[in-house]
């Protein structure tokens, strides 16, 4: 593998990893603190993208960048307050099914308002130019901007968790959720805020990514499971874990994509030959690159079986 390829893998992997991080950092907090497997998390991401589109269409992108996540956050907090909180007493399965139902509702609502086809959500002109060029491949300023923002998000959350009272409560509830309630904190309000904040993070990711991956009603469905992989692999409630896990997944996936090795080449290397017309060739001729989509899920299963608390988690999933 040439150095050039390696540079690309690292660069592309980082970019993709940071996208995953942005997407899942909110859920890390929600899942970690409240134990809610929020299936609608990617739906909030989608709402963020649509609101980002709508606001930047009517006003401009920068306003959207600030207000769209806030709107999503308020929406999330409202849903927590008037929906999830009442369901909490029925257990986690009920909560999860509620978010499942929410997922359907949001998807249809979005289709009702913005239609079934992608909306023309554009990268802001001011950032729409190639910034870096590595042997013929250029990276636009906008993706660097996203990279910086996601790093800032990481630092901000990290600081909030480490320095503020809210952070202290959140961290305490990660290890001992019942105790915090017993200490007389207004846990429901903290929960609402955390849920809203987590949703706002998803919304922010939506505003930033919607104009790159395309803003359309099925985007939530496709992103749902991968978010869980990041959250679980990183460890419940660990923002550092989410970052590391995202980057690992990004790197591994980019690496496998660039590998054109298949079992046939290994068998050839061992001195055997597979008949290209035989059934078995269908299996042995699969390249690593074609298998790259299953990598995250294998990672998920291995982590959960071998180390259920994830990379940096403090308690088991």
């Amino acid at each position: 593998m040439s150095l050039e390829v390696l540079v690309f893998i690292i660069f592309n992997g980082l970019l993709y990893g940071m996208f995953l991080f942005m997407l899942s950092s909110g859920l890390t907090l929600i899942f970690g603190m409240m134990g809610i497997l929020n299936f609608a998390h990617a739906s909030f991401f989608m709402i963020g993208a649509y609101l980002g589109y709508q606001i930047s269409e009517n006003i401009n992108f920068w306003i959207a960048l600030i207000f769209a996540p806030m709107l999503v956050g308020i929406m999330g907090a409202m849903i927590e307050k008037y929906g999830l909180r009442n369901i909490h007493k029925y257990g986690h399965i009920a909560e999860l099914l509620f978010t499942f139902g929410l997922f359907y509702i949001i998807e249809e609502m979005v289709q009702l308002i913005w239609g079934k086809t992608p909306v023309p959500y554009k990268v802001p002109e001011i950032l729409n130019f190639p910034l870096i060029e590595i042997s013929g491949m250029s990276y636009p300023a906008y993706s660097m901007f996203r990279l910086v923002i996601s790093l800032l998000i990481f630092l901000a959350i990290y600081r909030v968790l480490a320095k503020t009272k809210t952070g202290l409560i959140i961290k305490a509830s990660l290890t001992n959720p019942n105790m915090v309630a017993a200490l007389g904190h207004n846990v429901p309000r903290v929960f609402s805020n955390v849920f809203g904040f987590g949703c706002a993070l998803a919304g922010l990711a939506g505003v930033l990514a919607g104009n790159v991956i395309g803003t359309e009603p099925s985007m939530a469905l496709l992103l749902g499971p991968i978010v869980f992989v990041v959250v679980v692999t990183g460890g419940l409630g660990s923002i550092k874990g989410a970052l590391v896990a995202s980057i690992i997944i990004g790197l591994i996936q980019t690496l496998t994509i660039s590998m054109e090795y298949d079992l046939n080449s290994l068998i050839n290397y061992l001195g055997f030959q597979i008949d290209i017309n035989s059934t078995i060739n269908h299996f042995t001729s699969l390249t690593l690159s074609q298998l790259s989509p299953i990598v995250p899920y294998i990672l998920l299963i291995i982590v959960l079986i071998a180390r259920p608390r994830g990379l940096f988690g403090k308690r088991d999933v």
Binding site: V5, Y16, T117, P120, Y139, P140, I257, S289
Partner: protein, 419 residues
């Protein structure tokens, strides 16, 4: 106790069932259109249904077919194969004799196989299947049946058209195959490899990629990197939907210049997500007609204007129009509404095309044939592409006419004809 309640509830459900049972009605000629109208593929299904309904409306406004109107009955299969089966059975129950479908090959195959059994078991009550867009080659080869007619060119023909055009283009030396890893993408890739090797031996295949399909991949940059590193000057792709528009956008973002050859890259449903990024690279697609043909005959211009008015976009496919026109002609020729007679009439029937040529339904395998157009996306010239009331300020420019002989392929179809 539990059992009694259970029984009561089942009775309740059944009463509702009974209320919902429908009676067969005479009147309009009903065509069931089974397409996804909800879920992630709703946009595809909606476009097809709207196009067909508009074409039917045009026929109805001109007096219908032998005095009867055509009524399109949309049915939502939510892109679930089992639902297609259910809906087909429902359509049969409702006495509908004609079915059209196009979104999703698995559904088409389901319909073909179901009807094959049904039609052989119920002579005199046959159902005719008008396939509007399902392109799997086998439907008019080993899986061909008498009651299936395809009004879209199949994958092999499309690839043949693309390769035929590429072989005339001197700038194409090294091509990269980029397809989705499922049956359609794999067929596309195999056919392309074979045809390039046979018909355009000068073109070298420098890469061959199968990606996870249906929008699961968010970031195409790694793939773009691979293409860049392979030194390809053009990419041949069958991708559609998000897999197409994210790819186009990623190429633009990375500033990688290649010629893009494809079928569904410029689907209007995805155009909003690309807009002018489509013009960064030369994008060439093959179609049955040029949707922005300024020299189109007047009757078509009227049709187009009406389409724009009725559903808010310019037609992207001409096949819905000629499908229903040929259907109408078949009824008028035979003076019968029986699917069997109509099917015989459709064999070998000719229809009109807007670019001057003809469309012909080949008798051997019930596959439509026509002159294909190689179209390059350019800035707006005369007519522009409009979709859902959004004007993209882009047009197609005809860069090559692919004569029907170039895309006429042998068929392995060995059809059993009734009677």
């Amino acid at each position: 106790m539990k059992k009694i309640i259970f029984t009561l509830i089942s009775f309740g459900c059944l009463i509702i069932f009974y209320a919902c049972e429908k009676k067969e009605t005479k009147g309009p000629i009903k065509i069931a259109a089974i397409e996804p109208l909800s879920g992630p593929y709703a946009a595809v299904g909606k476009d097809i249904i709207e196009g067909i309904i508009y074409s039917a409306d045009v026929i109805n406004q001109n007096g219908g077919v032998n005095g009867r109107m055509i009524e399109i009955i949309p049915m939502d299969n939510a892109m679930k194969a089992e639902k297609t089966t259910e809906l087909l059975r429902k359509a049969i129950d409702d006495g509908i004799r004609f079915v059209t479908q196009g979104g999703g090959s698995s559904h088409a195959l389901n319909i073909i196989k179901q009807l094959e059994k049904y039609n052989s078991r119920n002579p005199g009550k046959e159902i005719l299947y008008l396939n509007n867009s399902a392109v799997t080659t086998s439907f008019t080869n080993k899986d061909c049946t008498f009651f299936h007619f395809r009004f879209d060119s199949n994958v092999d023909m499309k690839v043949a058209g693309l390769v035929s055009h590429m072989s005339k283009d001197n700038s194409v030396k090294k091509v990269y195959l980029f397809n989705q890893n499922y049956v359609y993408g794999q067929t596309f890739r195999e056919t392309a490899t074979r045809m390039i090797n046979n018909k355009a031996p000068d073109i070298k295949i420098v890469g061959d990629e199968l990606i996870q399909p249906f929008g699961k991949i968010q970031d195409f940059t790694p793939y773009v990197t691979k293409i860049k590193l392979s030194g390809a000057d053009s990419v041949l792709t069958g991708n559609w939907g998000p897999d197409a528009f994210r790819f186009v956008n990623a190429l633009k973002d990375a500033g990688v210049k290649v010629k893009l050859f494809g079928i569904y890259i410029s689907q209007p449903a995805g155009m909003a997500a690309m807009e002018k990024n489509l013009l960064f690279n030369d994008v060439i697609v093959v179609k049955e007609f040029n949707p922005t043909n300024s020299k189109a005959p007047n009757w078509y211009k009227e049709y187009e204007a009406g389409h724009l008015d009725a559903v808010g976009y310019t037609p992207d496919a001409d096949r819905f129009r000629f499908m229903l026109e040929m259907f109408k002609n078949a009824i008028e020729q035979t003076n019968s509404f029986e699917p069997l007679d109509i099917a015989y009439a459709l064999e070998g029937m000719e229809g009109r095309s807007i670019d001057g040529g003809k469309v012909i339904m080949r008798k051997d395998d019930h596959q439509i044939h026509f002159d294909m157009q190689a179209l390059l996306l350019v800035d707006k010239t005369d007519q522009s592409i409009i979709y859902r009331n959004q004007d993209f300020d882009m047009s197609y420019s005809n860069v090559g006419n692919i004569p029907v002989k170039d895309i006429t392929l042998d068929t392995s179809c060995n059809m059993k004809r009734p009677k």
